[in-house]
Amino acid sequence: MTLPEKAVDFVNWRKGEISREIYVSEEVYRKELETLFTRAWLLVGHESQIPNPGDFFTSRMGEESVILVRDKAGEVHVFLNSCRHRGMKVCRYESGNTSLFTCPYHSWTYTTDGRIRGVPLYKALYEGNLDRDQWSLIEVARLHNYKGTIWATWDPQAPDFLTYLGDAKIHLDQALDCRDGRPGGSEVIGVHKWVFPANWKFAAENFLGDTYHNPSHRSVDMIGIGPSALEGVKGRRDNELEQAQHVWCSFPAGHGVHSAVQPEGFEFTNSFKNDPEIADYFRHCHEERKRRLGENARFLPFVGTIFPNTSYHGRQPRSLCAWHPHSANETEAWRFFLVDADAPTKIKDFLRTYYMRYSGPAGMTEQDDMENWLYATNASMGTIARRYNFNYSQSLNASQRNPVVHGIQVRGDVSLQVTEHMAVGFYRRWAQHLDMEPWDVLLGAGDERFAEDMAAE
């Protein structure tokens, strides 16, 4: 089958139909690597992974290995993990502390700020030919530390990170801020890394807020593994949002989230019942959060995807996930688990135990997701299968701009019912990235849903 010239032709957003090619075609995949992953802001890591000068954490951007490092002066960098001489990986440790990256091949060395320190036999072999200052490790074009999370892009023209994040910020904040409402303050307590045979977009899309896939987690909901499970509470988490109005939001840059707004005067709901001490701690956090954030404390996160491949789980459990592409039908997932850095050990122990039984390839919830993504990719690869679009018409045209929910304005293209409109919004931007549109378009200019907002700005 010949593919359309423009990626935008894969995405019929008016009807809510999307071609299966975008999940299975090697050609589309190559294009994603060349256009999307070279320009978009990508999650690289967290500053808690590199607290001291010389600390590094080896990460990925797209298919490529990068090094997140804090240099000797304390500044954070992200470098392509490839020697300028013949490309050898200059670092094959996952993390550590060093003053130099020594290439194993011919022993060029680089300092933690990326500069060449040593070239063996420089005087005899290179003097006059090699300007060492020109051959530093390749560094990302832009980097941003947002509340401890480190993001980077290879595109010098990319908008600054906060512009890129737009109104998704307040939602991501809920995942990154302390449980008691203090801004930031999270730390990464571990990173799951695993590969699964599915296209990366299945995972990214799922976390935009695919609430409709709840039935796939029926087994874990039946048995109950949440923070109150010992008290006989079923489900995979506490039902904190029983009284809340759920909101599903699509944003101009392609991000999508599922959050919730609690009604006025809401109280700490029965949660963390496994242990009264844990429950007391979170009740205290709840009160503090209310005190600090006022009405905005009624905003609670659930899940979201920051375009293109970073997802978060906001509360139960709480983590960030980067869906690294391996090929059209293979993805490497990195799940970064978060806790408040200054939480008591007992709280951290409780949370990590819960995270492990919930998330990742050993997690009783996430296992079922992987099964679905694998076989959805697999069964879409056939010649016949590719002729038939996926259906994204759920709650099509049921969204509204910036509605007021329980007295709080929720910005974005927002649905108050279960929906797939975030996915459609995501793929509209995705297609424009592949078509190499300029950044104003990639930030939503020309998207009729946001025209009024943009005119107002």
Binding site: S95, G96, I189, G190, R218, S219, R352, P361, M364, Q367
Partner: protein
Amino acid sequence: MDGNLERPRIRRDDSYYALRRDIEEFFYDEAELIDNRRFEAWLDMLHEDLRYFMPMRHNVKFGLHAEREDTKEEEGISWFNEDKWTVGKRVEQILTGVHYAEEPLSRTTHMITNVQILEATPDANDATTVKTSCRFLTYLNRVEYETYFFVGKRYDTLVKEGDDWKVLHRRIILDQNVLQAKNLSTFF
């Protein structure tokens, strides 16, 4: 815990070999139950105070292995770090018949080899607690084409309850860094 180098090697006498055969039989019984999907019966072989632990393994610089290669039981995130209640939940989940990662059920073969007794308390003759090491090779195939090999080492502490051994502590060292499988949906 893995370093059986530091501890004095138990004398290889008749009582050692008799005890080892006993423990091997126990491990084979476990494998037999799991591979035949008799998960609830397998749970009975686990102690009420079980700790079931599989660390992640990191690529670290020479000299830092003891300290940093494996994630720790006391802190942070691992593949598994749980008690009997949680392992029991995993069994319960499979038995719902709608745990899609194991529905239809995978075919597994658990192989155990290189069994050694590291410690027997009070002694090999009348042991009520043993520490063991072994190697495992677990083959998992599901649906049509999905096939995984999980290979590694296992360090167990078994205690005697009445006439039966029970697993009190299980440390599973899977020799992988990035997990080469979409799921860890079997038992080790």
